[in-house]
Amino acid sequence: MQLTNRAKKTDKSELSLFERSYLPSLATGLGITIKHFFQAKPTIEYPEQKRYLGPVFRGHHILKRDEEGRERCTACGLCAVACPAEAISMVAQERVKGEEHLYREEKYAAVYEINMLRCIFCGLCEEACPKQAVYLRHDKFVPVFTDRSDVIYGKDQLVEDMNQRYQRDAWTKEDAMKLWK
């Protein structure tokens, strides 16, 4: 029974004396390896060269602010529930009078932490968020840790900077390549 055309029939006939001397197959093998020796290598030398990752790449997390600079997160905890790696934890607090310019909703996240060693960058938190608050940036990696104390990212590293707002632009390859320079 033939399922595909890719199956190769093995030749099980007895080897001739010449073939049994092992030399012809040895020569063929040496020919193949020397061909690979001189071939161009597909390696991308990462820190020096960066490859195009596409506009939907899921990288560093960001907690968005709205147009007036207020934090969008209302600490509902849906992202933490959705997270398969249980990387997100938060402490909710009620907004008091005078904080309306800081937090958009009546409840906000006083502490919002992501453990970057646990995070698998699946993007389920992004999908779960009802307030469009948490996103995974397409233009920034989480940097390399050198210490365990660097692993847990708090609000200081996650909340959007109003001077450098994050926009998911660069939809063409050329634009995206500029980002990774």
């Binding site: 007895e14 004396l17 040895l26 040496l30 193949i32 020397i34 690979h36 020796f37 290598k41 030398e45």
Partner: protein
Amino acid sequence: MSSFVQWLTESMFLWKALIIIVIFAITLGIAAYSTWAERKVAAYIQDRRGPNRAGWGGLLQPLADAGKMFFKEDFIPAQADKWLFILGPCLSMFTALMSSAVVPFGNSFIIGGKEVFVQAIEINIGILYVFGVVSLGVYGVMIGGWASNNKFSLLGAIRAASQNISYELAMGMSIIAILMMSGTLSLREIVAQQHGGNWNIFYQPLGFLIFTVCAFAECNRTPFDLPECETELVGGYHTEYSSMKLGFYLFAEYINMFASSAVTACLFFGGYNYPGMDFVESQLISALGANVGHNVATLVGIGSMFTKILFGIFFFMWVRWTVPRFRYDQLMNLGWKGLIPLAVGNLVITAGAILSGYKLVGIWVGLVLMVVLISVGWSMRPKKKNAIMGA
């Protein structure tokens, strides 16, 4: 005191000491960079880039490796025989370094009216010395494997011993054919007789093939690296070794590769000879004067020798990353039932050709005759009934 200084300058002592030190340093340097080259060749054959972080193109990698080796824990198992455990890698390294002593790396330098051979010692039994030292080399592996008091180490050591003994026979016989042709055991004279493109490879193609296969087996290189076969024996004879003792074992392997490439170059590829050698030398002498011209020509010859050696080492690596490891019974079958009979046949053919007076033609005709005889014999062999296909 002055007579001592006079003796020093007049005798060969200083120059010989210098040459020995230089050869020693070059051997170690080439062995160190073989580890780098091995990783590069492996990487390039597997479509990778290889080490490229330490220095330009990873050229400082051997230093980094050596530093790592030195700073690892030097562990001796409690049940091991401590002194033999230390002796093993020392012996391995010692014999490996000794074997290149008689190899003529170049012709000669004329210094102060004296002719100094570019060779550590010129003895008239050179090739015999190489064989003696190489067969001592297995002691390092044997002692190390036995002293480890570990089953896998012992199995690796036993494999190494039986493998080396088996392949030394075929290797020796393939060399005897060359000795019959040259009529001398001195490596320098064997090289000198191949002057003018008269290389032994043209006379001894089968001998070269047998010698190369045996050299792979003697160096414990893939496809014959069964003594350190990591799929079966963890690490073989050096399972229990760590730190620089392990480094010595690994290093000795690369020095052995260097030495066997050098011996192969001397025996089959004319050593420091290269085509158009006389023309180059006469041109250099007419341009630079007799002494300087001769010395520069010798340097060119040394360059040709090292080109051959480096290609030999590359070939070792090329084969390693191409051919999978043999099974132990295949190894023994090839050695005893394949190579030794072929080497004996080669010996008989060479003897006949020398007696007939037509060396080159006689040997090729003899080889063709042998191949015809073997294939006729093969086709007439009794066929097994119900033979398993492909077995």
